[in-house]
């Protein structure tokens, strides 16, 4: 039985209101809502659904195609994972998380540019509230201000395009905007870019990230770094590779900004001493990479990068948040040997780091390979060079952390378990199970990359790409 995509938005939104009323049942409501969504997402009917009783293209529509399918799976499954890992921390935020989930699903699913704005704002408001968990109101406020500026810019850009195309429906806008001269599109495109860039953590709107993610806990860290940013990047991909395809000028501007984000993120992560800070800058860098790929039109590798980042950051931010909570610091120098008595958490963190760096035997390698192949097949070798240089830096800061957390001991002496900071468990049993599951997924998909590629390919292929641009099996690679 296939269900209507509206349910993905309606269920959490409805439960959010119910949760406000029945305070005592909040835990159950959250569990049911999140689990139901993560389950139902696999049975949602494909196609464009008009809502509100109007006919297309005048109605607001929800579009579930192969692309947004990947988005909703990511959003709902990762939210489930985030809630499962840090269920105790959700207490005060049940309605917020559920409303945010509704907004995220709406963002990914919607086929209407203004509706996208509304859902983005719902998501953003829930994000502002979640960010206040960090007990740094100034940072939350800062986030809110940047978010508001972003939304105003987005609206401005949107209205400028609306004035030229006369429609808000994405598919119709895509047709009409193709007829408009490129020069007229540059400014609106860049304004829209700035609007989406807030949640996607791209420059110049990434000023909030350090304050918010740097003070995140196991729940908010995962929500921001993997759930929200995946959804925002999927939206970015939708808008810039499907609806408003940037012409040369706008394309160059966006790609340069995205690559600058990548580079700035990597070097900033390299200098950071705090675990969460390293991770958040690495998230910024990955977002930049995905955005650059989308803006160039390489949807498939971009989606792989998003999936890889979401899975990896889920593990890493929950580990970092818990480490901070247990040991009172997340300066990794002060956490020497935290993994010594936390084998599962340590292995999961290590696998996630390997995957993010794009090292083989795990999924990240497949993503990296596709990124490189996409550009090099096209004959561009500047971008791959930047990406690989970034990878070296990325590997350097991750290996530094891993070594520190795995092998305590003075320089010149053998690594010694007695030198570790302590024996506190990083995850509770439920968290351990979730983290191990995600880790197993990363490993398994590393061994069977082509099957993952086939799952993702329609999402990438739908948008004019040729599916897996590179196959790990030689039969296909040899043919080309």
């Amino acid at each position: 039985m296939m269900i209507n995509p509206v349910l993905l938005i309606a269920i959490p939104l409805g439960l959010a209101f119910i949760a406000v009323v029945f305070k005592k049942l909040q835990g159950w409501i959250l569990a049911i809502g999140v689990a139901a969504n993560a389950f139902l997402v696999f049975f949602v009917e494909k196609g464009e659904t008009a809502i509100g009783g109007f006919k297309l293209p005048f109605a607001i529509s929800l579009v579930l195609d192969d692309f947004s399918f990947i988005g909703v799976i990511l959003v709902n499954v990762l939210t489930l994972a985030a809630v499962a890992v840090a269920f105790r921390k959700t207490e005060k935020y049940v309605p917020v998380i559920l409303a945010g989930l509704a907004g995220l699903n709406g963002m990914v699913l919607t086929g209407d540019m203004f509706n996208l704005f509304v859902f983005m704002e719902i998501t953003a408001i829930s994000a502002y509230i979640l960010s206040s968990e960090g007990r740094k109101p100034e940072q939350s406020f800062n986030y809110l201000v940047i978010g508001s500026i972003g939304s105003v810019l987005y609206l401005l850009g949107l209205i400028l395009i609306y004035g030229q195309t006369g429609t808000l429906n994405m598919s119709l806008m895509a047709e009409k905007s193709a007829l408009i001269g490129q020069a007229a599109m540059v400014l609106p495109l860049v304004l829209i870019f700035a609007g989406i860039a807030v949640e996607a953590k791209l420059l110049p709107m990434s000023g909030w990230v350090r304050g918010v993610l740097g003070n995140s806990n196991a729940l908010t860290g995962v929500m921001f770094a993997s759930v929200y940013s995946s959804a925002a990047l999927m939206v970015f991909g939708r808008v810039f590779s499907q609806v408003l395809i940037p012409g040369t000028t706008a394309g160059v501007i966006i790609i340069v900004i995205a690559l600058l984000t990548f580079a700035a993120g990597q070097v900033s992560a390299f200098r950071s001493k705090s675990l969460r800070q390293v991770l958040l800058y690495s998230s910024i860098a990955q977002s930049g990479l995905a955005a650059a790929l989308f803006a160039t039109g390489f949807v498939f590798p971009a989606v792989l990068v998003i999936i890889n980042n979401a899975a990896g950051k889920m593990i890493m931010f929950s580990t970092a948040g818990n480490l901070e909570e247990k040991y009172g610091t997340d300066d990794y120098v002060g956490l020497g040997g935290a993994f010594v008595r936390n084998m599962p958490a340590g292995v999961a963190f290590t696998i996630a780091a390997l995957s993010l760096t794009g090292l083989p035997l795990v999924f990240g390698f497949y993503a990296k390979l596709n990124v490189l192949a996409a550009y090099l097949n096209q004959g561009t070798f500047f971008v791959p060079a930047v990406v690989l240089a970034g990878t070296i830096i990325e590997g350097a800061y991750f290996i530094r952390i891993l070594i520190k957390l795995w092998a305590p001991g003075k320089e010149g002496e053998w690594a010694d378990a007695d030198q570790s900071v302590g024996e506190k468990k990083i995850f509770n049993p439920a968290g351990t199970v979730v983290v191990i599951l995600v880790t197993l997924l990363i490993i398994l998909s590393g061994f069977l990359p082509d099957s993952v590629g086939k799952l993702v390919a329609p999402g990438g292929g739908l948008l004019g790409d040729e599916g897996p641009s590179i196959s790990m099996t030689m039969e296909k690679g040899g043919d080309q």
Binding site: E138, Q139, F141, S151, Y162
Partner: protein, 112 residues
């Protein structure tokens, strides 16, 4: 003309955010900016001598010069969202005041 005035409003709002470190004033700046963008949207949908997009005795079906109704619908939504953001911003402002005893961000000591 209205369009330019509204763009000016947006810029004034941005300037407000830039120039002050007072939480409340920044929120006011955001509001000014939002009003600017709302006016801009209305202005985009405005048609000279256009009628209100409502079918009535005065406006039979075949009147061609309607003002764009979509823009007005958008503005309604946008105002509501702006309200929500402002309310939340005020909550944060209150929290900042509770924690630091001031609304001035330059006096909070720059948390990170």
């Amino acid at each position: 003309m209205i369009k330019f005035a509204s763009l000016l409003l947006i810029i004034i709002g941005l300037y407000g955010i830039l120039s002050t470190r007072n939480v409340i004033k920044i929120l006011v700046g955001i509001n000014v900016m939002e009003i600017g963008i709302n006016v801009f949207i209305i202005a985009m949908g405005f048609v000279n001598d256009g009628a209100a997009p409502i079918l009535s005795v005065d406006n039979p079906v075949n009147v061609l010069k309607f003002v764009d109704p979509v823009a007005q619908a958008l503005v309604l939504t946008s105002i509501v969202i702006g309200l929500g953001i402002t309310a939340l911003g005020l909550v944060f402002a209150r929290k900042i005041h509770k924690k630091y005893g001031t609304y001035d961000l330059s006096e909070t000591g720059g948390e990170s």
